[in-house]
Symmetry: C2
Subunit: 114 residues, 2 copies
Amino acid sequence: MKKKIELHLAHWVFVDDVKFFGKGRLQLLELIQETGSISKAAKEMGMSYKKAWRMVDELNTFGKSPYVIASKGGIHGGGTEVTETGKQVMDAYHRLGEKLQTIIEQEKNLLDLI
Amino acid sequence: MKKKIELHLAHWVFVDDVKFFGKGRLQLLELIQETGSISKAAKEMGMSYKKAWRMVDELNTFGKSPYVIASKGGIHGGGTEVTETGKQVMDAYHRLGEKLQTIIEQEKNLLDLI
């Protein structure tokens, strides 16, 4: 049976030697954007609200400005949303992932050696 | 106090959805090459001999040919060495890491957004 051989990669932002942002937090912010709610986002990720809240709190505390804020008013009567800072970080992290993936595609010949 | 912000990355080869090769196994092979011994390599990594041996066994079993073999004779009266296949995988994995690192260097502006 032919083996399935794949290259995987991961990238993270560290702040003062502590993991600050990676795939999990990107997904959390995407789901907050989508659902307007930390608890709904947590639920979709199969994560406790407490854990999701702690992640958001870390992003808001150690980022240069908050990534997630409570929004007021609007037709839905308020909710939770991702700030411009948060969106910029999401975009930049995502774009970097795509560039790294391009390199991985170019270097697939490594897999023939395995 | 200014925060230290850094990008880190990791890459792995998966075989049939199981992690097969990454930074740890690269280091293990490097140390086997250097010391001519699985037990010395394990010791330098602070790992049990059993664990190191299991890793070598996996590399030898699931790679296209063995990565590590017992060498016979020579002035040291034999020992353990990394095969050509093993060396090629080490080189390719290492080179890929350098290419990915180049992208990371080019994309450092992401860090200003954090």
